[in-house]
């Protein structure tokens, strides 16, 4: 810990490294945007900066854009630092993140000052209603600056802030350089959005950073390349093949789109599916159903790529089973409706090889009953496990020969992996790796020449898997029985099989020998040609269970902790034989810094590669003189994991290089001088109505034109743009409509995706109904995105198809639903807008010569007379969930949600309780939906 030597700050800081101090001084001196490489300690910088203001007292500082965990971190760090530097004026952080705090309480709070982290949606409302007076703000700290695009809520907040407050500071932070490099002169645009003039870039290769981290106190890193097993390799190859075919299909189906860079190489990138999605997004409402499915397939396939490396063989098979069940076709569907990758040979390879890793057939035994195939567990282990065990042993030896190491480190071994599931897997492995199966004595970990193995754990998993599979077969049957019947025709083989449903497996050749009758011509394929779901015959399963059952007694010794009673699921502490701890932890962004500081490990094993964690170790090592760290770094050679890691490192470097170039050639034109706010605003609004900006307002009303906006609408960019057009935006909790332009005009805004979903659940119909009850001229605004193509035409040609206009068919496309809506409400006007910018102009135009709306009347519309406004505010998601439940109608939904607390309460109610609220028939349906048991049913 070093003390900052600037005299006016008697504050103790925890920024030991040179670049950190440098950056801190810079930030104290002026407003700027800081883009820093991941892992270089962004949060530490922020908390120190906040503390320096906090300690001074008498400040009102707003933190914008912080996530929950960041809030927690900042809060903790501020309290800690206040205690260390004994600053009497420090007040710590107050988090305002839900609507729980009442308006009056908030007002009082703001008046007191201090540091507040406020959710953007609440902040913008408070600023607009001047609950929080802009002039009183000392400064704003903006996290995740990369998200501030022109139409974002954060940009809106900053604009309101800068409009009235020109002296307060503004410091923006980001640790992801990617978004700053997309588009035309992105850095300059972003900075204009934030009203900042200076950008400060801190890549890992910055001279000061490199100097601080690569001094004499370097961390020792050992890289270990682990080969994949043949089966894993085969699965990975097969998945890649599926990805390739999917991409090919995508290209075929969307010939009009730009997609040169959709190839297998980019498919390896971390966010390929996101990228494809983003590229398709402008046309998302126009692409065919099939394209959407392939895009979601890509996500599934990519998750499989990760799973094959991360999960153990049994869990992987289990995941495959689930995915397969979920992708099985809808009743009566044909092969056109199924994911194309399921039809490939490669898909078969995936499923077959995954199974092979778990069990295979034993050579047929000749029994009195004839030839019976039985299964034998294979239980392939992940290669990394053995290596992990080896490393731990090596560390043991190390510690044994050199027990008293100099330095401050604990003799702790920290194992880092990518997620908590892997944590759990490793914990299980380490706990059981010395338990030998097939021995009756107690396991003896110190036994000579015993190789650690996962067979105990794997057997246990297999046992669980087999149990799960039996239940899953039932569930699957319950859910999709119609589908299967539809697929298999009139004769259902399951009925012939008796009590247990095992479809005669047609998956492997040996099956045919073993009495399989069906499907000899198409092995592994269902009637429609996709990969068939495969269920074992009871006899075989019994064998397999018997095989793994042998060590049931051992299993009793250590009860498997399924649910950890501790609150904190992240950490699992286990006593290892040398009395030190092995801590297994998942990568967790900035929180990893805390882990390092708290655990002070001597040895770190990185089970999976992560570039930012390496930097954190570097920072950690350099920050402490006397802490030695040795890092083992594991990755599967030639795997997607390795390539992804290398690609991410390369991309970050490229991004920073681009940013540095742009900064060098950037012309700084924006200003925040006396009348300066108007300038960026102009750029932001693109067009300015000179009649208004000139000062002589030509509008008919004397008062500023105003629009009443529903608070939930602040998630969209329209309120920001309305405000930018000099309209007075009044946030209110509205029951009817989204925007009230005049006492007569009420507007319901729908983006295209909203429109589709609200047609589907009938929401729009009832919204239109209520609007007509309260307003003379209700309007539906269909708003396209700025970058989306302004058309509803699907790529597929629908015209001339007689079936598509048949009124008896359920209409599927958007056009026919719009037609129905206008027929149902002939007086409903439709506004078509190509972008939010356009909408703002239309609103202004509609408002001319109309009286101003009355906010109080707008809020009262649609409310029951005896009910207070507060009771009417609903949370959307639980509502939507309840709306799906059979038996719940829009009418009784209201009743239900008023009388009950949450979804859980409804799920636990009895028929009697429910029927008093919504009537008998509906109650029965709702109760049935929640209580239908899919497992313990006799079939």
């Amino acid at each position: 810990m070093s003390t900052n030597n600037a005299p006016p700050q008697p504050v103790r800081l925890s920024l030991p490294l040179e670049y950190q101090q440098h950056l801190f001084q810079e930030l104290r001196a002026e407003d700027e945007l800081v883009v820093i490489a991941k892992g270089l300690g962004l949060m530490r910088l922020v908390t120190n900066l906040l503390h320096s203001y906090d300690a001074a007292g008498n400040n009102l500082i707003i933190v914008v854009g912080a996530e929950d965990r960041e809030n927690a971190w900042i809060g903790e760090a501020l309290a800690e630092q206040a205690a260390i530097s004994m600053a009497p004026k420090a007040r710590g952080l107050t988090v305002v993140n839900t609507d729980f705090t009442s308006v009056a309480a908030r007002e009082k709070m703001y008046a007191k000052g201090g540091i507040y982290s406020i959710t953007s949606r609440i902040l913008v409302v408070d600023l607009l209603t001047t609950l929080l007076r802009t002039e009183s703000i000392t400064g704003v700290i903006l996290l995740h600056a990369d998200k501030v695009v022109a139409t974002s809520l954060e940009a809106f907040i900053l604009r309101i802030y800068r409009q009235k407050n020109k002296t307060g500071f503004l410091k923006a932070f980001s640790d992801s350089p990617d978004p700053f490099t997309i588009g035309f002169s992105p850095l300059a645009t972003m900075m204009r959005n934030m009203f900042l003039r200076k950008a400060s870039l801190w890549p890992r290769f910055h001279v000061t950073v490199a100097g601080s981290l690569e001094g004499k106190k370097k961390a020792e890193v050992i890289e270990l390349e682990v080969p994949m097993t043949d089966d894993m390799n085969a699965i990975q190859q097969a998945i890649m093949e599926c990805v390739e075919v999917s991409i090919h299909e995508l290209k075929k189906g969307n010939s009009g789109l730009e997609m040169d860079d959709w190839n297998l190489d980019s498919a390896l990138l971390k966010n390929f599916d996101v990228m494809v999605r983003r590229q398709l997004d402008p046309n998302w409402h126009r692409v065919s159903w099939k394209t959407k499915q392939i895009v979601s397939d890509l996500t599934v396939l990519r998750s499989l790529l990760h799973s094959v490396l991360a999960l153990d063989a049994v869990s992987f098979l289990q995941q495959l089973d689930t995915i397969h069940a979920a992708h099985s076709p809808q009743p009566g569907s044909t092969r056109q409706n199924q994911s194309p990758w399921l039809f490939l040979d490669a898909a078969n390879t995936i499923f077959a090889t995954a199974k092979q890793r778990v069990y295979t057939a034993k050579r047929a035994d000749v029994t009195p009953q004839g030839l019976v195939d039985s299964l034998r567990p294979v239980l392939e282990e992940q290669p990394k496990w053995a290596l992990l065990a080896e490393i731990l042993e090596e560390i043991d030896r190390d510690l044994y020969f050199e027990p008293s190491t100099r330095g401050d480190s604990n003799q702790t071994i920290l194992v880092m992996c990518s997620d908590t599931a892997t944590c759990r897997q490793l914990r299980d492995y380490l706990q059981t790796m010395h338990v030998q199966p097939k021995t009756d004595e107690t396991p003896n970990p110190n036994k000579e020449n015993h190789k650690p193995s996962a067979s105990f754990m794997m057997r246990r998993r297999l046992r669980n898997y087999l149990n799960w599979k039996r239940e899953f077969a039932k569930v699957n049957h319950e859910l999709f029985s119609e589908n299967q019947k539809a697929l298999e025709g009139a004769v259902d083989p399951r009925l012939a099989q008796g009590s247990y449903k095992g479809r005669a497996p047609a998956n492997k050749r040996r099956r045919i020998r073993g009495g399989g009758v069906i499907g000899a011509t198409t092995p592994g394929r269902a009637a429609n040609g996709s990969v068939a779901q495969y269920f074992e015959k009871p006899a075989e399963v019994a064998d397999l269970i018997e095989e793994v059952q042998m060590l049931e007694e051992e299993a009793h010794q250590k009860a498997d902790i399924v649910a950890d009673p501790l609150e904190d699921m992240d950490d699992y502490f286990e006593v290892y034989d040398m009395q030190d701890l092995v801590v297994i932890h998942a990568y967790d962004g900035d929180q990893d810094e805390h882990v390092l500081e708290e655990i002070r490990p001597r040895y770190i094993i990185m089970y999976e590669p992560d570039a930012s964690f390496i930097r954190r170790v570097e920072v950690y090592r350099s920050s402490h003189n006397d802490r030695n760290v040795r890092v083992y770094f594991m990755f599967y050679g030639g795997s997607v994991e390795e390539q992804r890691y290398l690609a991410s490192v390369r991309r970050e470097k490229d991004c920073f290089t681009k940013l540095i170039k742009e900064r060098a050639s950037m012309s700084v034109v924006m200003t925040t001088d006396s009348h300066g706010v108007e300038d960026p605003q102009e750029a932001f609004l693109r067009t300015v109505n000179t009649r208004i900006a000139g000062g002589g307002r030509l509008t008919a009303t004397a008062e500023q034109p105003r629009v009443v906006v529903d608070v939930r609408e602040f998630r969209s960019s329209l309120p920001s743009l309305l405000h930018g057009r000099n309209l007075n935006v009044i946030p209110c909790m509205l029951t009817v409509g989204d925007y009230i332009l005049s006492p007569n005009i009420c507007i319901e805004r729908k983006s295209i995706s909203d429109l589709i979903s609200s047609f589907k659940d009938g929401r729009l119909y009832s919204q239109a109904e209520t609007m007509f009850q309260h307003y003379k001229s209700p309007m539906l605004l269909i708003e396209f995105d700025q970058n989306k193509s302004f058309t509803l035409e699907p790529f597929a040609d629908l015209s001339g198809n007689l079936r598509s206009v048949n009124p008896n068919e359920a209409p599927s496309d958007l056009q026919s639903k719009i037609v129905l809506l206008t027929l149902a409400f002939p007086r409903l006007r439709i506004i078509w807008s190509s972008s939010p910018y356009q909408t703002a102009e239309i609103f202004e135009n509609l408002k001319t010569q109309e009286p101003e709306p009355d906010p109080i009347a707008a809020v009262r519309a649609g409310l029951d007379k005896d009910m207070k406004a507060e009771d009417q505010a609903f949370n959307l998601e639980p509502h939507e969930m309840l709306g799906v439940v059979p038996g719940v109608t829009p009418q009784n939904l209201k009743n239900l949600t008023l009388e009950t607390e949450n979804v859980r309460e409804v799920a636990n109610m009895t028929v009697g309780e429910l029927s008093s609220l919504i009537g008998k028939e509906a109650a029965r349906k709702v109760h049935g939906f929640f209580n239908r048991n899919l497992i313990d049913i006799d079939m």
Binding site: D99, S296, Q319, T322, A325, A326, H327, T420, R424, E471, V475, L479, V562, A563, D564, M569, G762, M779, T791, E793, D797, S799, N801, S804, V805, N808, Q815, V819, L820, L821, T822, L823, L828, R829, I830, W832, S834, Q838, E841, I842, N845, L846, E870, A873, F874, N875, E880, M881, V885, P886, T897, L898, V903, R904, A907, F929, F930, N931, R932, I935
Partner: protein
């Protein structure tokens, strides 16, 4: 459902003014005939449509107002079928939005003759349709309802829904599940677990 057809009810009535409009060539699914009507297309007893190309509108902005005036309030639903055939449509569309409010017409945008024809066909064929299709409440099977119910929170997909319910046995149990129990299900990462568990506990009403 089969409703008694009126004498000329089965075909779209087209004003002779529309002769030569490519939309007519694209009208293929339903019969149409010329008829002397004030509107461009008669789509039923109470529904009519005026056709407007934005290209034309830009040259003759007063044309459409004359046409609307000539309708004389005869129809209940008056569609202004507007073809967007110019790139900078913003000004015209803004003006038309205002017009629709004042003159009581409903704007429907289309981007090609084929789409325009499809709208006309749809209006005609839905003349007597009921509105159940947009009222929601479509009866579907238990499995679909279940998947729909579980996948409401963002980020939870179909496969997750099925693995969740197969792990818990029933939706009720799944709703009552602890975060720890949900977390051990394959495919359920921390984010999903958190979303699921918070949404079932989230109060319906926002507390003030």
């Amino acid at each position: 459902q089969a409703l008694p057809q009126r004498s000329s009810g089965s075909s779209i009535l087209v004003s002779p003014r529309q002769k030569g409009n490519p939309v007519l060539a694209a009208l293929r699914s339903l019969p149409w005939e010329y008829s002397d009507i004030p509107a461009d297309y008669g789509l039923g007893l109470t529904t009519c449509a005026l056709f407007l190309s934005l290209k034309y509108h830009r040259l003759h902005p007063e044309y459409i107002y004359t046409r609307i005036r000539n309708l004389q309030g005869k129809y209940n639903l008056r569609i202004l079928l507007t073809m967007v055939d110019i790139p900078n449509h913003e000004d015209s569309l803004r003006e038309l939005s205002k017009t629709s409010l004042i003159n009581n017409v409903t704007i429907i945008l289309c981007w090609s003759a084929a789409e325009a024809a499809r709208y006309l066909e749809l209006y005609k064929s839905y003349e007597h349709a009921n509105f159940s299709a947009i009222k929601g409440q479509q009866a579907t099977g238990y499995a679909e309802k279940l998947v729909e119910f579980v996948t409401v929170p963002r980020g939870i997909n179909k496969a997750d829904a099925i693995s969740l319910v197969s792990a818990f046995g029933s939706i009720k149990n799944a709703v009552n599940g602890d975060p720890e129990q949900v977390a051990i299900i394959g495919g359920w990462g921390e984010k999903k677990v958190k979303r699921w568990c918070s949404v079932v506990e989230e109060p319906f009403r926002v507390q003030q």
